[in-house]
Structures are given as C-alpha cells and as structure tokens.
C-alpha cells in the first residue's frame, strides 16, 4: 500500500510538471504565423546546386542565410536577409556585419539550425552551407527553395558566385570581385613588403597557439599581399582550416615578421595578454618588432565573401598606416 501511494505521488509530480511546461509556454506572446511564402513571386529561375537544379523566385524577397559567406554575399549585393545563423562563439552575426542587419532573426548556431525558427522567418529562398547533408536539405527544401553550393570556403569566389546566381546578381558580384582584386593589388603596392617578409595568422587558446592555413581566405590574402607563410601553415594544404594546438616549445615554427592573432571578442585580449606573459612569446621576431596584431576571429578565421575581404583589407591598411 505504501508503494502504491508513492506511485500516485510520482505520477502527480509528472503531471504537474507537464502542466507547468504548458503554462510556461503559454505566457510568451505567440509569434504570428508567417504568410504563405509561395505568394508574391510569379516567375522563377533555375539555379544549379550541389543537389541538382533548383527553381528560385526571380526576385527573392525574404532570404534566410545558413552560412556566413552567404550572409556576406547577400549583403554585399544589396539583399538584406531576414534570418541567419549566429557566428562562431557569439550569439549574433559576425561583428563586421552586425551594423548592417540590426533586426535579423537568429535561426540557429553553426552547430545546429533551428528548423522551426527558419519556418517562422517565412523565407522564399534559403542560402545554405555547402556542408548541409541531403536529409537536412530535403527538410529545408520543404520550407523554401534551398541553395547548397558545390563550392565551399576553399574556393570562396566560386561559392559566392553560386549564391549570387541564386539571387540573380551575378554581374554585380563579378564587378565587386574585380574591384576587390584591384584594391588588393593597390594595397600590395602600397605595402611594398621586402621579398622575404614572413607572416602567419594564429589563434591563441588557453592551452597554446594554433596556426591557421590556406583554407581561410584571410591567410591567402596575406600571401597575395607578399607575405611568406611558415611551413607549418602551408603543410596543412587547402582542406584543413588549422593545426592542432601546438606546444609552446614549437613556437619557433611561427617566428615570423608579422603575427596576426585572431581573437573572438574583447575577452580574447586576455588570451593575448596570457600569450605575452610567456617569455618564449616575447622572444619572437614579431613580438620584438611590435608587429603582433590582434584581429577579429569572426572575420579572419571563419568569414568569407566580398564584405569580409574588404574588411580584412581595411584591417591590414590600418595596421600599416601606424608606424611599424
């Protein structure tokens, strides 16, 4: 009999919990259900994607981007998306883009997309990442035409080209890219680095540094501007974004003239401060020449696209403007 009462009591607790959840859920204001996304766009275009041709509206009105490069590209081309994923290690979009999209809905983080949030953003076009698998693609396609590009960050010009095609603005993108090339060349001439100048992009973790490789547009930009990468970076090839955390004893591997340290936020400066506490770090050439430069990791280690390139060029122009 005793246990029987216990049973009833625990059932009661569960039921109570359930009703609590129901009440808790009822209090926040109900989001209005979005209108039918199919309405509005009369004509469609066909765009080639990783999973075959997709019919997209001729002039998409509500774009949701599930890739940092897609968000960058759309904004560069004058399309303001209504929803996007948060940037790595932050709760909003990357800082260099945040001012352009103050009201954007965050529909997930780089690890997980919240599909219901995508639905409530009522998109008529979804620009997804090249990493999206077929199952997720099918789900997303049920919401709106979904573009999964065949190219990724490794060939960022091609990937942004695919997004631009989906937005119907290929010509604008080509003009932009050409413009960026010109700016890059100008900056290179302006810098006029000595032939053997070396440089590396690293992140400083609590356990030590890791070195970023050529997969990242920022690292390739450094090369274009005339810096030679250390072999630990070039050995990564163009498929791996970064090395493991390397031992402090191996710091000589990143003994370069310029050292760009990507940090994720203001607290990242703490990481840099911790690095500077290490005597081996202060022995580095870049350290002694005062050429250790903190840069935004959201920009330099995960973003790509026309706006990202322009922001990175501006970063470099800024650091060389100050006396070396």
């Amino acid at each position: 009999m005793h246990t029987h009462i216990f049973g009833l009591r625990s059932l009661l607790v569960v039921v109570l919990l359930a009703s609590l959840v129901a009440c808790g859920a009822a209090t926040p204001t109900a989001t209005p259900m979005p209108a039918d996304p199919a309405a509005g766009s009369a004509t469609t275009r066909s765009v080639a994607t990783k999973y075959g041709p997709v019919a997209v509206p001729a002039a998409p009105q509500r774009v949701v981007t599930l890739d940092e490069g897609a968000l960058d590209t759309a904004l560069a081309l004058g399309v303001v998306p209504v929803g996007a994923l948060s940037s790595r290690l932050s709760t909003g979009v990357a800082p260099y883009l945040a001012a352009r999209v103050p009201d954007i809905a965050i529909v997930g983080n780089p690890g997980e997309t919240n599909i219901e949030a995508v639905v409530s953003a009522a998109p008529d076009l979804i620009l997804a990442s090249s990493r999206v698998d077929e199952q997720t693609y099918t789900t997303l396609s049920a919401i709106a035409p979904t573009i999964v590009p065949s190219n990724s960050m490794a060939d960022w010009q091609a990937a942004t080209g695919e997004y631009a095609a989906a937005l119907g603005r290929t010509a604008e993108l080509e003009a932009l890219l050409a413009d960026i090339d010109t700016q890059t060349m100008q900056l290179r001439d302006q810098l006029a680095l000595k032939p053997a100048t070396t440089g590396a992009l690293i992140r400083w973790m609590p356990q030590g540094p890791l070195v970023l490789g050529r997969l990242l547009p920022g690292v390739r930009l450094l090369e274009t501007l005339g810096m030679t990468l250390p072999s630990i970076a070039t050995d990564l090839g163009s498929a791996t974004p970064h090395t493991d955390i390397i031992s402090l004893e191996q710091l000589s591997q990143i003994d370069t003239d310029w050292l760009l340290v990507a940090t994720f936020n203001a607290e990242g400066d703490q990481a840099l401060a911790a690095a500077k506490q290490q005597p081996v770090f202060s022995q580095l050439r870049a350290s002694q020449a005062g050429q250790v430069v903190p840069v935004s990791a959201q920009l330099w280690s995960s973003a790509y696209g026309p706006l990202a390139m322009q922001a990175m060029l501006a970063d470099i122009a800024k650091l060389t403007a100050s006396p070396q």
């Binding site: 356990q207 090395t243 955390i245």
Partner: protein, 335 residues
Amino acid sequence: MALERPQSIKPSSQLTLLCAVLLLLSVAASIGLGAGAVGPLEAWSALGGGGDAQARLVVLTLRLPRTLIAVLVGLALAGGGAMLQAAARNPLAEPGLLGVSAGSATAVVIAIALGLGHLHIIVAIGGALLGCALVLGAARLSGRGDDPVRLVLAGAALASILAASSATILLFDQRTADEVRFWTIGGIAGRSLAQVMPALPAVGLGLIGAAVVARPLAALALGEQVARGLGQHPQLIRASVVGCVALLVGAATAMAGPVGFVGLVVPLAARWLAGPDIRRALPVALALGPSFVLLADTLARLVASPAETPLGVVTALIGAPVLVLVVRRQRLPSL
C-alpha cells in the same frame, strides 16, 4: 592494530628509495623531453647555465615551470584522493570519480561567465567544497562505508548534472567557449607560473591539514566506537578531511582543470606498497603523485608532438583501465 606509534609508520628504506628514484626519473624526463628540438643532454646542460640561448629559454621558461606545476598538481590530487578514500573507507572515493573536480571546474566556468574569472582560485575551492559536501551527503558518509558503488554513482550523477550545467552556460554565453573547453578537459600546457601562483598557499594549507588529520583519521579507520574511545570526534575529523580535500582538489583544478584518476591510481599504489594505514599510505601517495602526473604530462607532450594532448585525457586513459582491473578483482579491496 594499536594506535601508539609503531615502528611500521616509518616507511621502509627500500620504499623511500623507490619513491625517490621514481621522482628523480620523472623529473628528469619532464625536463629532458618535450615537443621542441631541445634534447635531454642539452636540456640538462641548459639547466646548469650552459647550452645556447634557445635551449635555456625552453628549459628555464617552459619545462621548469611546467615540471613545477605538475609536481604541485600531483601532490594535491594524490593527497586529496588518499584522504578522501580513508575518510569514506572506500577505495573508489576519488575526487574525479566523485565529481569534486567537476564541481570545482563548473564553479570556475560559472564565475567566468559572470565575469569573475580573476577570482578563480577561491571559486574553484568553493566549488570543490560544494562538490565534496553534496556527494558525501548524498552517500551519507557515515555507516555506508561498505557500499562503495553508491558513492561513485552519486559522483557520476553529480558530474553529469555539472556537465549539463556547463553546456547550458555555453548555450547562452558562447563567448567563453574556449575557456569552458579548457575547464572541462584539463591540462597544464600553456599555463604559466604566474597563473598558478595563487594556488600555492591552498596546496600548502591543504597538505599541512592532511598531516595533522592523518593520525585521528587512522583512529577513525578502526571504527567509530574505537575512535570515540580514543577521544576523537568523528564528525570533526570528517569535516576537516572535507576541508583539506576541497583545498587540495580546488587548487589542483585551478592549476590544471579537472584531471581525473590521479587520486585513484596513486593512493591505490600507495596502499599496495605501504599497507592501508593512512599514516603510512599518505606520505607514499604524496611521493608517488608528482611522479605519476609528471610522467603523464611528459606522455601528453610526446604522444601527438608537436601538438599537445590534454593531461586529463592521458590520466583518464591510464586510470580507467586501472579502475576496471580493480573492479575485476574478486572482492573490492576494502579499507
């Protein structure tokens, strides 16, 4: 066994020699071996002021501090483990398994998320204290000594709650992700002496406390009644053990993050070498702890060189099979 000081409290000279040789060897390995190009001979000459500037830099500013940190962590965890096991009369009462380290690390994570990261030593010790109290309370230390698994399961439950709490914090505060990842795995790579200095007083205090409590604790091992008869206060003894363990484990966590299984493997070896009396087992554990952590850390540097393997991963990979082996023995070794 009578409580008047028998000659057996003094470790035999062979045992002392063994511990000393082991410690010397592991210190030598820790200073001589690393991911860098500096070899053992060069390292030793650099230590004496010879060698080139690069070698001196590596040895004096990297390997020497790291060796020192490993020694401190080893002392703290082995001491904490030995005390906890004696007090709980449970061979499996280990700070890592019981969730004490996890409690400490989670407290630090919360502090970082609240912007109080600079207080991390105090927070780590506080977290360890809470973890200790909670898990020992859950298993009701007194009278449950012959049910070793209950304690471990309580620890596992606590650790899973704490892991979920860390994950929740990460969900709402992504900024701290790198730090949080460090505080959930543990390692001493990249730690500078300046970062660990604040933990030093806590280790000292904890060890002094352990030395003082060891004798009454040995009395408690004879049973509550006997201890009372000998004029001891069991509750007071347990409370002081919890205090010492919190100081030691909190300090170790503040230095190296949650490093598990040191407090299991080392006291186990100590009891095997010196017998179950805490007065003999504690010094042996304190002598062996640094060696174990030093060797594990040297391995952590070499396994994936030039990359670092987290120390907590290496100790788990060594310690977990030991746990399985202990459990496979017919009877769980009792204290």
